[in-house]
Symmetry: C2
Subunit: 247 residues, 2 copies
DNA sequence: TTTCTAAGTGTCATTTTTACACTTTCAAAT
DNA sequence: ATTTGAAAGTGTAAAAATGACACTTAGAAA
């Protein structure tokens, strides 16, 4: 009977992280670059790696994310498991795995995690096998390593569903933000235009916003009022959810 | 470089199935009984087992479900991964694993699947290590093997969320059903009373029901009209979802 | 024929949704 | 100083959806 050393890497299970950001124009996602010797289209990958046997999945996701991008203390939520036996079928991926894995041919199931962060709060620095790490507009991504494009697509869909029942959009904005920025964020996540006045009415009714009585400065048009969100009400809605943010 | 035989069992990854049914009174779930020599509270378990390296996760869930309960060709949807390193901490579970697994101490991550079935369409027959298989009311379950109670709880919550945006409830009812049965089903899933008239109005507006112009027979009260659901409209709503079934 | 049981039905007041266009404020350019 | 460009901000009316609420009906059994 084999007694495993439990701080070994588990060759069969990995985690991958879909970290969304918002650059005030577009929804973005954090990718690592595996370097020049990859095929151009699949150089980029979600940050991810094998788990250790003595850590739980959430811990693994946080560890791996920090190791590859230096981002730490981020709330990650599980998206699901991806485990097609052919997920490692691209030749470029197989070559790459040989260079970093002890068992490059092993069947790997990956557990995907999703998070939303304020771009300005975290500056990604690549390390480990990531040659660089940075934000890419999700709409401009058409290919990724392994099955990461499929994972990203699932993450986008989950985000669309969630934003209608939880106030998660706020995690992507800086402390102080304008209603127009929030509006643009919702439009880019839901990928459709939303009526300005109706959007504002709905958001205001959630009671989640505090008007800072402070204006934007230096913009070449009527300056916007700045808002922050009301933490108490935010937590309340995060837990209870709401049924009525359906556009 | 170890080349794995890919039709081997993977010692680190399992699937577990949460199969919901409805007995016209309560929401039920399909459990297997691991037999008398287990501690009473945790004799019962969700049907689940290790995956093979050459099957994908969906296939594995279907195979395992059929092997343990004889149910086949069921649409299973992934719930998520459960992988606490301590999920095998109950002594009774460890003892049991020694009797059925080649590597009983291995770290196992399980991928949970959920399905909704018409109880009348499937008659579970236990096999493999399941000594029996049958339906139990979800409200009467307070303990299960491993982390299966936690998985069941997550499945119930997902079901509550989903039933508001997809017409899934119909999968649990027989071909012909009454509006009262549908009403009771929704109440038992959402776990709260719903106004009869408002419920009927909403369901009718979905346009998913076809009145069969046929009445219940032999009931000691006014017989109900029977309905089936309109497959075309059902598929439409399954894909598109709806925002407005919020009670 | 009476009794029991669940089925089935409508309205009104309130809230929510949708569609839609003009005025305001600032910076920059002239 | 005035004009221009650009996004911010604001209200209303019609239509639809929601929530609360109580009595009549059809059949089986006694």
């Amino acid at each position: 009977m084999l007694k495993k050393n439990n701080s070994e890497l588990n060759p069969n299970v990995s985690v991958d992280c879909v970290i969304f950001g918002f650059d005030m124009e577009n929804l973005t996602v954090l990718l690592i670059d595996r370097g020049e010797n990859q095929f151009p289209g699949s150089r980029m990958a979600l940050p991810g790696n094998l788990i250790y046997n003595d850590e739980n999945l959430d811990q693994a996701a946080n560890r791996v994310l920090e190791e590859l991008t230096s981002l730490k203390d981020i709330y990650l939520e599980q998206l699901g498991a991806f485990g097609d036996p052919n997920r490692i079928s691209k030749e470029s991926d197989r070559v790459w795995l040989k260079s970093i894995r002890a068992e490059p041919e092993a069947r790997v199931i990956t557990i995907a995690y999703v998070s939303l962060v304020k771009i300005s709060d975290y500056i990604p620095h690549a390390s480990s096998f990531a040659q660089s790490a940075g934000w890419a507009s999700v709409n401009e991504i058409h290919e990724l390593a392994f099955d990461h494009f499929e994972i990203l697509t699932a993450a986008k869909e989950q985000l669309k569903r969630k934003i209608k029942i939880q106030p998660i959009g706020f995690n992507l904005l800086p402390e102080k933000f304008t209603l127009s920025q929030l509006h643009r964020l919702y439009e880019s996540i839901l990928d459709k235009p939303l009526d300005k006045r109706n959007f504002r009415r709905k958001v205001q009714k959630l009671g989640i916003l505090t008007n800072l009585k402070e204006k934007q400065r230096g913009v070449p048009h009527k300056p916007s009022e700045l808002y922050k969100f009301n933490e108490e009400r935010y937590l309340e809605l995060s837990q209870d959810g709401f049924d009525n943010f359906g556009f």
